[in-house]
Symmetry: none
Subunit: 227 residues, 2 copies
DNA sequence: CAAAATCTTCACACGTTCTTAACACCAGAA
DNA sequence: TTCTGGTGTTAAGAACGTGTGAAGATTTTG
């Protein structure tokens, strides 16, 4: 959140215009009108994205692009008045992630900023797992371990455990669980549910007569302990 | 190295034009004029990049975009005659990596294709071979060995094994496997799948009644053991 | 075109999973 | 104590999913 954007641009009007738009969209903005300072600011401030104009007063924007790209994979969007095909191709091949020609629509620019940021953002592979004491669940792999030892759950058992864990700490009523696991038009028979709870506890609890994870709320339902 | 590009576009002239350009630049090209078939081809052919027109004769291109993006991070460049700001923003926010408006300059398109491919490529570092115990697979040479002895697999068997191995450790549901192997619009018939699993096991398992590599998750699907 | 390989479909045996029913257990109330 | 309502446990059979051989359909190959 609050990604940092470095704007290297010498047109005062565009600076004003972009500052406003970017800041209302909750980006942190740094800006400079000169290429040399741009490279320097990139080094010191470590922005998440750079908006780079090609026509700068001191050095050529292409030079700035190449120097930054030589050191970093940071997202760079070229924003330029030069709309010639060759310049676009050169900038893109020199490492720019996108190229927008002035004049541009602000919403398109913002959308392209989002694209560039989502691609460069540390696309951490989200492990969809859950751990609580000796219990480990990998929802994606459909795998459940107790004390590092894999145990086998049937489809309904897995669904039940997932439901409980997703609502850890909350009490789930019998009818809620039945609706979620068996579907909305199943009769309100809690016999099966009790059997499944027993089986589930036998598999994941150390002592199923004194459950640690799945607690019974008499007259109401069941609840998974809060982490 | 010979990246595969899927072109979903209904304008015959553009198809001809792009085919020529892309093939002279040594890309492998697959193309279709319909969105539904596009999704299906994406599933079966696993392209490195998709060029998507928004105005298709069967379904809306945005729908194609969303459906593909729901399953994959593959590079997608929208190539459309619709140049409205809102459409660009919608497509980019729906997951497109870039948006080019017709008419376009071919060199700019090619440059943007290079940008999209170079950004996606590092994440798709695909292993060329796979080894697990007595099983060896060379994906490029389309070769499978068990105990150093080459065995013959049919195309679907190979595809199935590849899919399982690429997701080693994860449970793949029947419907997921069917979609990936047989394509998007195949009916949900798991009969064939069971037969292929049996054949595959007979070929790679020592004792196919007690499989070592391909495990069954009753009621859910199959999975390849974790390395 | 014929032969071979591959794929699909069907039937059925077998194993797993689910449902159901019976009963034990544990409060708290009469 | 006995009764009562809710819960835990066990076991049997029903329902469902899976493995497998073979036959027929389709595609590929020579």
């Amino acid at each position: 959140m609050n990604e940092k954007i470095l704007l290297i641009e010498d047109d005062k009007n565009i600076i004003k215009f972009l500052s406003l738009s970017l800041e209302t969209n909750h980006y942190k903005l740094i800006n400079t009108t000169h290429g040399i300072e741009g490279i320097s600011l990139f080094m010191t401030d470590n922005p998440d994205l750079i908006l780079l104009d090609l026509g700068l007063p001191d050095i050529d924007g292409m030079e700035v692009l190449k120097q930054i790209r030589a050191q970093s994979e940071v997202a760079i969007i070229v924003v330029s008045a030069r709309g010639q095909e060759k310049e676009k191709v050169d900038a893109l091949d020199a490492g720019a992630d996108d190229y927008i020609t002035k004049p541009f629509h602000i919403n398109e620019l913002l959308a392209r900023v989002r694209v560039a940021l989502r691609k460069k953002s540390p696309s951490v592979v989200k492990e969809k797992t859950f751990t609580c004491d000796a219990l480990f669940i990998d929802f994606e792999k459909y795998k459940v371990c107790v004390n590092e030892k894999e145990i086998h759950l049937t489809p309904i058992e897995f669904k039940l455990l997932t439901l409980l864990v997703e609502n850890a700490g909350k009490v789930l009523t019998h009818s809620f669980i039945i609706k979620k696991v068996w579907g909305y038009n199943s009769c309100e028979d809690s016999q099966s549910l009790r059997v499944f709870m027993a089986n589930l506890r036998r598999k994941i609890e150390e002592d199923s007569s004194r459950p640690h994870y799945i607690l019974t709320e008499v007259g109401v339902g069941y609840r998974f302990i809060e982490r």
